[in-house]
């Protein structure tokens, strides 16, 4: 059927010879694989490394790490410039990025199963840090190790912005540090200054005060703005809706949204626990009390006069709604300022957007006797080391952590892709100070006054709740809050349902 040459190779090799060749090839491949495998197991002598700075950085030359992170600007920036780290250390780092829910699942499986496929990972404070804190390596011994390279600024609480080290690094135990602050997303208000200015006279004639947004603007003011804009729009006016909340498919964003408003009114907390450290065994929750029911109702009132597609938008989609000019205000994380200021993609760019702290609590809505504050929360992404990894891998990973959280890199990310620094020193640089005013080459810097000078400071900042079952807790709060917003449950029913469910969690 087919032509077969007389001198075909397979005819010249006997079956026995063929098997012999196959056996040798398999042996060779096996030995090679073993060699490669052994060389990837990092086994070095740290004492030799202490001889010089260069030796400290290069002591794990030739090894490889995998860094699993969220798809945020710092991770992209590190990935795009990873060759610099390789040149400095000789350590190859594969940076894998994904959406936060996927990162949480992958990292969670890796940590809990005793593996170290991801020796370095993103420790987003509540979704990852709270449930998996015990599986991360304690960084404390490495911070003072003179056989490892160290950041010249150090790692004390004072070098980071207020509360950042607590937010992502300390869980349930003050003496243990599991992550260094690497990426910050702090909430503040983005609002359309042009729309506010154009409508302030009409608004003032109706409500008796100016339409403006400052650190003293309350949630009641916001409710008024939304009601005014909605009414005007429905009467045919060329104005956007006032506001939209964070809902969508990722529960944590909704929990953060309601948490900000709850905290703003009397510094209300879910549980009476140390907000910065968290608790493995929280007591019965405060959900269902008079304060929580009142604010849940107000949250729904604001939703009723917000954008009609309110429930569909997660954090990213909400920012798109704002960029497309469909809403006049959003409480958003400050890392999104760069995208809002991009004239190619945003109708809110070109000086139309101004930034203010999160709304202040309305004193007439406070029944628990606490103060009204600008309830501000965050997602502080730390960088942590897998506790399952060998000591040498942990040390190599630490070298990467030092690099990834350095002020120099944070400055590069801020000026490049639009990052959000975690070290105070970055804000002291002259060009960063100048960038706080328009025109600016660092759009995120426009939010720094609202965020770093005000929002993250006590008494406005709310970090927790840090509890081991944080993800189920987020899911319960989000689901019941959305039921209330959708009108499927009253505020009282929603709060009582949250209490009934979360009191059984731990």
């Amino acid at each position: 059927m087919f032509h077969v040459p007389k001198n075909a190779i397979y005819k010249t090799v006997s079956r026995r010879k063929f098997l012999e060749l196959g056996g040798r090839a398999a042996l060779g491949l096996g030995a090679g694989a073993l060699g490669v495998g052994l060389s990837s197991v990092i086994t070095r002598n740290p004492v030799q490394a202490a001889s010089s700075q260069d030796a400290k950085w290069r002591q794990y030359e030739g090894s490889k790490l995998v860094f699993m992170s969220e798809n945020t600007p710092p991770s992209f920036a590190i990935r795009d410039t990873i060759s610099k780290f390789y040149d400095l250390t000789g350590i190859e780092v594969e940076v894998i990025t994904d959406g936060l829910p996927a990162v949480q699942q992958k990292v969670g499986i890796d940590l809990q199963s005793g593996n170290a496929d991801f020796p370095v990972s993103y420790v987003q404070d509540k979704p990852i840090g709270s449930p998996f804190a015990d599986y991360y390596a304690d960084l404390t011994p490495m911070l003072g190790d003179d056989t490892l390279p160290q950041d010249i600024e150090g790692y004390g609480d004072g070098v980071w912005f207020e509360n950042f080290l607590d937010a992502c690094g300390r869980f349930y135990d003050r003496d243990r540090l599991i992550a260094l602050p690497y990426d910050a997303a702090v909430a503040c208000t983005f609002y359309r200054q042009d729309i506010f200015e154009a409508n302030t006279k009409e608004f003032e004639s109706e409500y008796g005060y100016r339409m403006e947004f400052t650190k003293d603007t309350t949630y009641k003011n916001m409710l008024d703005y939304c009601a005014f804009l909605k009414r005007k729009r429905e009467a045919g006016g060329n104005v956007p809706y006032g506001y939209a909340q964070h809902h969508g498919s990722f529960a944590w964003t909704t929990q953060l949204d309601i948490q900000r408003m709850m905290f703003a009114h009397g510094r209300w907390l879910d549980w009476e626990i140390d907000d910065k450290l968290g608790s493995r065994t929280p007591p019965l929750s405060n959900w269902g009390d008079e304060q929580s029911v009142l604010i849940m109702q107000k949250f729904k009132d604001i939703a009723d006069v917000s954008h009609p597609d309110n429930l569909a938008n997660g954090t990213l989609e909400l920012n798109t709604v704002y960029q497309s000019g469909d809403i006049a205000m959003q409480v958003q994380y400050h890392e999104f300022a760069a995208s809002c200021e991009d004239e190619k993609t945003s109708k809110a760019a070109g000086g139309r957007t101004a930034y203010a702290p999160c709304p202040l609590g309305e004193s007439s809505w406070i029944v628990n006797g606490g103060p009204a504050v600008n309830g501000t929360n965050c997602g502080i992404g730390g960088i942590g080391i897998n506790g399952n990894a060998s000591e040498d891998v942990q040390r190599a990973a630490y070298i990467f952590c030092v690099y990834a959280t350095s002020a120099k890199l944070q400055y590069d990310v801020l000026t490049g892709l639009g990052g959000t620094p975690t070290r105070k020193s970055v804000l002291e640089l002259a060009d960063v100070k100048a960038a706080r005013q328009r025109p600016t080459t660092m759009p995120n810097a426009l939010t720094f006054e609202a965020v770093y000078d005000h929002g993250i400071r006590d008494p406005h900042f709310v970090l927790g709740p840090k509890v081991p079952e944080a993800n189920e807790y987020h899911s319960i709060v989000a689901s019941e809050t959305q039921r209330c917003v959708a009108g499927s449950a009253s505020a009282k029913e929603a709060c009582e349902s949250i209490k009934a469910q979360i009191d059984n969690l731990h």
């Binding site: 005793g114 498919s249 309110n310 938008n313 709604v321 899911s475 959305q482």
Partner: protein, 326 residues
């Protein structure tokens, strides 16, 4: 004398010529029956493989549902039927069942009606091959990609379908996925879009097997095309429909990729079908014991419903087959 008797054959055809020893026994008595142990020996590799890939995970699922399971080296804690008892008072578990029943019945109904209608229209049409190829394209798309594609089509800010619905005054300002009342319909539409072609394909194969003589006899008797379809074609394609329904029904109970991309179970838990809840419990909350209990109940109900479906469709199919034989 038999005409094939050796004595009448040419010597070349005799057994002696080939060196055979002619036995007095019949051929079936020549070899001893292998022992049962021998059969087990031959079956062992297949059984081992089967056990590794199906039975072991099933047993592990039962084990997990009776324990508080930790992924790491920590010992699992025996909790007996605690995980099942908790499900009895878990409102999300029961809501998940109700939503799954609604979702599955809506998907199946639309897919069967549309799929069969399309198959009938396509059958023997001039452009059958081209059209069936085009119709099959959604099925080739990965469910996650389909979910993301429709997520953008439905998007309230820039989604084309949202604009269309809004322009027609169907939904107002809220997108289909932004309301608890319509979000389930939104995910049903995606499933129908993606999997109706499978029903069409299978039904089309069934229609090719409908006996022409029955159709012609029915037409000669003056039956209309509609009567022809219900009296002749439909009973003949019952076995094919059974396969299609079983496949889709089981898929609906398992596939959540598109739902996770579209809504993640929201808004307000309105699309948190049981498999979505199972995913959350197992891989977001990492409660693997509770997840195991949910998965096992889901598996058992799927098997029972599958058996009921087979029973429902088996009788008409068998009757039809018997009438064909007669």
């Amino acid at each position: 004398m038999n005409e094939f008797d050796n004595s009448t054959k040419h010597p070349i055809f005799t057994d002696d010529a080939w060196g055979y020893v002619v036995s007095e026994k019949s051929p079936t008595e020549l070899n001893e029956q292998p022992s049962k142990r021998f059969y087990w020996f031959l079956l062992t590799p297949a059984i081992t493989l089967l056990a590794a890939i199906t039975i072991y995970p099933f047993l592990w699922l039962i084990y997990m549902s009776l324990h508080e399971v930790k992924l790491g080296p920590v010992d699992d804690k025996w909790v007996g039927l605690d995980n099942y008892a908790k499900l009895l008072t878990d409102a999300k578990f029961w809501d998940g069942w109700v939503l799954l029943a609604k979702y599955s019945s809506m998907c199946l109904s639309f897919e069967i009606i549309l799929g069969v209608a399309l198959a009938v229209i396509l059958n023997n049409s001039k452009y059958e091959k081209v059209l069936i190829t085009l119709f099959l394209m959604p099925m080739m798309v990965s469910p996650v990609v389909a979910g993301l594609l429709w997520f953008y089509l439905y998007n309230g800010t820039f989604g084309w379908y949202h604009w269309l619905f809004e322009s027609l005054g169907i939904l107002g300002g809220a997108s289909i996925l932004g309301r608890p009342e319509t979000a389930l319909i939104g995910i049903v539409i995606v499933d129908v879009w993606q999997w109706t072609p499978l029903i069409t394909l299978i039904t089309l194969a069934g229609l090719k097997r409908v006996p022409q003589d029955q159709l012609e006899a029915s037409m000669v008797d003056g039956a209309s095309p509609i009567r022809n379809f219900f009296s002749v074609s439909l009973p003949n394609i019952f076995p094919f429909l059974l396969i299609a329904i079983l496949l889709r029904f089981m898929d609906n109970f398992r596939f959540i990729d598109a739902i996770l991309a579209l809504t993640g179970g929201g808004p307000a838990g309105s699309t948190k079908l049981l498999p979505v809840y199972l995913f959350d419990v197992s891989f977001t909350y990492f409660k693997l014991g509770r997840g195991g209990a949910i998965a096992l109940t889901l598996l058992i109900v799927t098997i029972i419903l599958g058996m009921i479906l087979v029973k429902i469709f088996e009788d008409p199919a068998r009757k039809q087959a018997m009438s064909n034989e007669n």
